[in-house]
């Protein structure tokens, strides 16, 4: 009953009410998920189409092998490897959200917080150094989060593209002399996107749940880290609260996907 009024109880881990703890950390997780989503969708679909067009050529085999290995990598193993190579050896991408000096500036009262997303806020404040610092900290987690999912998306795109390319209307288009580029990008790709949009639901779940482990590995503030710490410390109120929050986002995500479905497939709109 209290949950309906927004009272999710007291979070022992966050030392504040659960709802406040979640909302305060949400921008960090959202920023991570957004930065991961775009490379996944862009690269995954692009490579999937490439692999399908060059079927059984070297490129196709190469992409498929990398994809199946990527899909077999547990995210925490991959994350530890990224951390080891890019932080321990090269020192490029440190863990955490911000460096200490940047954190102090961000926490100071006259620093404008409009979106609460670290990189965007830094640009709004005109602090390019903070922007770069935030970016440096987010690259590692984004690589980890996106690598696994583009492998998945690539496989779906490839098989769906192959199916479409064997359809009659593609043959018709080729027979009447439509340039190959247009056949692939206008006739085939749009139709091949339909199953891809369907699995986007699974991808949203994956990206969100993925943040739990990735925020722990890279020591980032966020809902995932909150949930993981609460689970280890048996803080039930926080665990239930974060799960409820994730489920709500999941349902919203599925709703958006249903709408996108109609955008990609006019047949859904008409029926």
């Amino acid at each position: 009953m209290n949950a309906l009024q927004g009272d999710l109880g007291w979070s022992q881990v966050g030392k504040e009410p659960v709802l406040k703890a979640i909302l305060g950390r949400f921008p960090y997780t959202l920023e991570l998920a957004l930065y991961a989503l775009f490379p996944v969708v862009g690269v995954g679909i692009w490579l999937g189409v490439k692999a399908a067009v060059k079927r059984d050529k070297f490129l196709d085999h190469f992409i498929r092998i990398v994809a199946i290995i990527g899909w077999s990598f547990p995210d925490f193993v991959f994350g530890l490897l990224v951390l080891m190579i890019f932080y321990s050896v090269l020192g490029w991408f440190p863990p955490g959200n911000l460096s200490l000096w940047a954190e102090q500036i961000v926490k100071s009262p006259n620093y404008l917080k409009v979106t609460h997303l670290l990189t965007i806020d830094a640009l709004i404040n005109g602090r390019f150094d903070i922007f770069l610092d935030a970016l440096r900290h987010i690259v590692g987690p984004v690589i980890t989060l996106s690598f696994l999912w583009w492998a998945y998306l690539l496989r779906i795109t490839r098989s769906s593209m192959l199916e479409v390319l064997s359809k009659e209307y593609v043959r018709t288009a080729r027979a009447k002399g439509v340039p190959e580029r247009d056949v692939i990008h206008k006739h085939a790709k749009r139709n091949a996107m339909i199953p891809v949009v369907t699995v986007a639901g699974a991808m949203v779940i994956g990206l969100l749940s993925g943040t739990v482990i990735i925020e722990v590995i890279f020591n980032r503030t966020g809902i995932g880290q909150l949930a993981a710490r609460a689970a280890v410390e048996l803080d039930y109120a926080t665990v239930l609260g974060t799960t409820l929050f994730y489920s709500i986002i999941l349902v919203l995500g599925n709703l958006i996907i249903d709408i996108l479905y109609a955008v990609f497939d006019p047949r859904v709109r008409l029926s």
Binding site: I68, I85, S88, T243
Partner: protein, 309 residues
């Protein structure tokens, strides 16, 4: 003159499977892991070299799945002759990787079998009877699907109290929906076939119709799906152990071994790959294990389901 048809069909499938290079790689990797799991007591003897019995020989461990503490220094120690994979938290990594194979098979097979069985029962009831039973069961499935798997497993594990068995219960509770949906869809198709109607007309009980006539005709896709899920289940279980929810401290489990490593890596900026072995060996074991199942599942799907390619 010639062999009966189903037999030769099976042979044709097997031949096709054996011609697929990724299938061969998958099956050989799997065979390797099975051998390691079976012969674990001979590959890594379950003895504690620190404790000698009256004959001066190392004592056997009561529970071989708890990795013996060899030294009290918790810092990772690089690979040496006695400890080819190095040591972490005073424990031999080689020992943990070998015995962890058993843990991985145990978790993966148990959870997959039970959750698939639950899925088959629920999906069969739902698909065969239809109507309001179907409606209720499918809405329950939707509710279970609306919680992200990792988080759901995390919550239930926390509520039950942490531990490996609790992780497995949680993964079964939130892992049956895929099989249920698949078997339901297949049953809806098969239900209208002549042989089912014939069996009904003969007055055979529903239970036997499902068990003897429908399931044998719908089970293959479910088995393929199950083999493809093995990999991700093992990843999730290891992930929970990595977060500290699964296996207890020092248990021979790949996920909890990597948990030891995390703090050492976070603490070392700019220094070279000092602790690489502590991530590499347990991590590679897990990647290869999951890869094996994914390759096998992929190959089975390609061979038995020509529609998907």
């Amino acid at each position: 003159m010639s062999e009966p048809k189903p037999r030769s069909e099976f042979r044709r499938m097997m031949r096709k499977l054996l011609r697929n290079p990724s299938a061969i790689l998958g099956f050989s990797l799997l065979a390797f892991f099975v051998l390691v799991a079976i012969f674990a007591p001979y590959i890594a003897e379950p003895v504690n070299p620190q404790m000698l019995d009256e004959n001066g020989k190392p004592m056997r461990l009561d529970n071989p799945y708890i990795m013996p503490v060899i030294t009290w220094s918790s810092e990772p120690i690089p690979p040496s002759k006695e400890h080819p994979f190095g040591m972490i938290q005073g424990r031999d990594i080689f020992y943990g990787v070998v015995w962890g194979t058993r843990t991985a098979f145990y978790i993966g097979l148990t959870v997959t079998l039970i959750s698939t069985a639950v899925g088959i029962v629920i999906g069969s009831i739902s698909g065969y009877y239809g109507g309001w039973i179907d409606e209720i069961l499918m809405r329950i499935t939707d509710v279970f699907l609306s919680i992200p798997f990792l988080l759901a497993a995390m919550v239930l594990t926390t509520i039950l109290g942490n531990g490996l068995d609790k992780v497995m219960i949680a993964m079964v509770v939130f892992g049956w929906m895929g099989a249920a949906r698949l078997i339901r869809a297949n049953i809806l198709q098969v239900k209208e076939e002549q042989f089912v109607l014939a069996a009904k007309a003969l007055g055979i009980k529903d239970f036997f119709i499902i068990l003897r006539h429908i399931l044998p005709n719908t089970i293959f896709p479910v088995l393929i799906q199950a083999s493809m899920r093995m990999g991700s289940l093992v990843i999730t279980a290891a992930g929970l152990s990595f977060l500290g929810l699964g296996a207890p401290l020092g248990y021979a489990d790949w996920g909890s071994m990597l948990n030891f490593t995390r703090n050492w890596i976070l603490g070392t900026s700019g220094s070279s790959m000092t602790y690489w072995y502590a991530v590499f060996y347990p991590g590679m074991a897990m990647v290869l294990f999951v890869l094996a199942w994914n390759l096998v599942g992929d190959a089975l799907r390609d061979v038995f389901d020509p529609r998907l390619k």
